[in-house]
Symmetry: D2
Subunit: 285 residues, 4 copies
């Protein structure tokens, strides 16, 4: 089985390296070609265009920033769509809304190719360590068949249901991710205003039942007030907007997400978009 991987950003570079390491015959494509070099050196083939990659691979993985980039890869010049035929599987691992995922499925399926919806939970470090949680939607047999491929990038595949349900689970988990970081940021900012030391607050939180891997991961950032991007703030902001749109479509109520998105919007306006999303604390006075 030949695996193709399109999109070699922070996440994609780490995930495709893990595919290689697991022994898959890998072909990669990235719009700016130099980002493919490190993978070529490790043994990956490099495609000159999306259609070349799609023509030569059985499984075509997409991991980019959103709808626009996906559409460029599929239906842009030399787009992959031309090469989709029965027997091939397209796996979108990019974070997009459930309704956009259903649109992708409806547009790709007529070609006879299978479409899977497999966004991931986890950021840079789990991507590098191959410990992502993969949230899979699509035909269950196809997901089970490709589980070994997916497990070379992650430590767990959660089967969520038909196409679109992987994205729905991603949004669901990211509600918690966004509101927890916002909650910690509000807590720290509130405490500091009241005269408490941020270190003491972090120590107290991490000594109690709210201690978790997420807060442990971000603790040094808050202590140092320095936020190198593991999960860039602009991506969380994008996800929060998807979440609101989906909530409005489904009639779900998310009042604390409405609070959270406003702080993230201010953080974007302050130019924090490329910092880690924990930098949202800088938008709280």
């Amino acid at each position: 089985m030949r695996v193709g991987f399109m999109g070699l950003g922070i996440m994609g570079a780490a995930m495709s390296a893990n595919l290689l390491e697991a022994g898959y015959e890998l072909m990669v494509y990235n719009r700016t070609a130099e980002r493919a070099e490190p993978l070529r050196e490790k043994g990956a083939a490099v495609a000159g265009s999306p259609v070349e990659l799609a023509g030569q691979c059985d499984v075509i993985i997409i991991m980019v920033t959103g709808p626009e980039a996906i559409e460029e890869l599929l239906w842009g010049e030399h787009g992959a769509a031309e090469a989709l035929v029965p027997g091939k599987t397209v796996i979108n691992m990019s974070s997009v809304s459930p309704s956009y995922t259903r649109f992708l499925d409806e547009t790709i399926s007529p070609s006879g190719a299978v479409f899977l919806d497999c966004p991931v939970s986890g950021s840079k470090k789990p991507a590098e360590e191959g410990s992502l949680v993969i949230l899979a939607g699509g035909p269950e047999d196809a997901v089970r068949e490709l589980e070994p491929v997916l497990l070379s990038m992650g430590r767990k595949v959660v089967y969520c249901g038909q196409s679109g349900m992987g994205s729905a689970m991603k949004m669901t988990v990211n509600i918690l991710l966004g509101t927890m970081i916002e909650g910690l940021a509000e807590s720290l900012a509130f405490g500091e205003r009241a005269g408490l030391d941020a270190s003491l607050i972090l120590e107290t939180v991490l000594a109690g039942p709210m201690a978790c891997g997420l807060f442990q991961l971000k603790e040094p950032m808050f202590r140092a007030n320095d936020f190198p991007p593991q999960f860039p703030l602009k991506h969380m902001f994008k996800d929060l907007r998807f979440i609101l749109e989906t909530a409005y479509e489904n009639g779900a109520e998310v009042p604390s997400v409405h609070g959270t998105v406003q702080t993230f919007s201010r953080a974007m306006a302050q130019g924090l978009e490329d910092e880690d999303f924990a930098a949202v604390i800088k938008a709280l006075p």
Copy 2:
């Protein structure tokens, strides 16, 4: 040293039992006297009034629901205040606002008694197990001197600064506690609307970096849709209102707390006040 304990609710009953077990000579008082019986059987003396307790004890601990109950104990009929003299220490462990704590300090200190501000982080189970985290404000030497007493009820004493800072830390930690439960509730409600199974969402969350003791504790409640009170919803609602008042006084911004308090307010209006605070999910359609 003789220790007095006033307020034998869910928390107070467990905490005073731990004081007894640690070997302290204990006298208790509760407005409704029958709640003192189990402690009398274990060897505690039972006071007939707050002033009797305060007269006979060196350390007077208060653990009640709020300002009104505190004032009844201190300045009501046969109130404890009459017996406060130098050498005695009053420890308020009830959850109240920092500004009310400062009022207590200013009102009690002229008697010569020392006032400490020691609210706790943790609910029923940690109270029973003696594993509360105690957030201490007041003169540091007095806190250090009474640390053994406090550690018979908890596993950690965090010294937060002068009087009022214990309450400030409690509010700070409860911002996180309230927004995390709200975030999990919104996440579950959103996911279910999108067609996901609540069990699968909980499984996914508990497999990732957001897994924590709090969510593990509440997981069976969400699965069973049954919320026996560990930390009653009405108490979290009260704390959220203290948090807002304090934020307004200090100029802190807490947008996701504003989202959270609205769901809790609706839950109160739905009559969920005596269920565990995780029952807030029932207020989300």
Copy 3:
């Protein structure tokens, strides 16, 4: 000059009737043809397709529910775009976002046709009376030249700047429209919960400095608890979502719009979409 009008909903039917009455030679098109009948009877020509209308008219007005309907008219089967050439002017009067308006401008202008952006402030009754306020964006000379056409549908043309600025003004005005109705609804619901009579509240409001045409128009609806659509709730909900998207793009902060959109979202989930937007009060318990 021959004027074409596409989209004969509540607003469009009234607006095109006013164009006829003003003496313009009018051709109309509507997806469901029977809605064109009343206008045919008054003397309008009826086009069989958008491209027929665009081929025969100098000015092509579009008044539909949103992007999807616009795209069907312009680029669907027998779409108007094929007939756009220099000398023709396309006026979009539908309510869409500023960014979508700029997309329309960029897509239409290469044909040589002029694109104007002219959404309206006002609902059913002002449309019928020709008293709409028209918020115009695009080349100023083109707006001034067509001002007589516009003034046959409205009583005032506000020139707002380049293409997209008409939509920006529409969003700006609708922030106020949405938050004022939400504010009145919250006020009434709050007062009734406190034991006041809704009639007395309305009387008090209308006796003071907040009395305005909008509240006078809606007063009978609130009194009768019956909300026949002048401006359907689903359209205000759509506009609120455009407003949020635009605010996120521009870094504008709109906290009370975030409160408002949540009530409207709940109202949508309750099935109130086709009632007047003042029915949002039914979503407040």
Copy 4:
């Protein structure tokens, strides 16, 4: 009938001058005595203490900033409460919460004096012009009997029901007042971010169905970006907090008030407390 007036701030000074002008025999009291001078010059008697005023007057009006000042006047040193006997009427016109109003009623009524609850709608200018709307709660016959006194300060008395209902109506009307100014501020800030001129926005709003006395009154402030206090921002902030407390007690839902109070809180933190409440726009970037 002798009328006493305590509290000679912006509002009280204007209201008591109107009482004098209407021919009432007036006695005034103010904590800082010099504020009584202009009234003495116009013919008012000046009391040396609240109890002196209450002893000599049949009707005792209170118009101060809140509960603390009220309690100082009634139960502080030489407080008015000592002189309350059957036949006297206390009218609180200060803005306080309905629950605090009920507390005043319950505390004053045992003296035999009648208590009325008469907050006002309107700020500096209507106070000067005698065109306030007076929102009256208490025994209906007492309100009707004193209507001439009230109408010398306002142009309309709205009888709202038993004691506390005047305050409830005040809160209800101020929900609208606060959210309308917040809505206009968000609208202007949003529009300016999108490239529109504030003057053009104001012109458009004032040409449409949202035009009202309130916006006409504030328009020059927004144009000049200068906000001399008619209704100080800190007072609206106080009222918004009363509104939230009352909403939480009654189970009313006020999502856009939650948005509004956050902007006002930030404005307070920015030091805008003594400007007119329309200055809240400065807290929106």
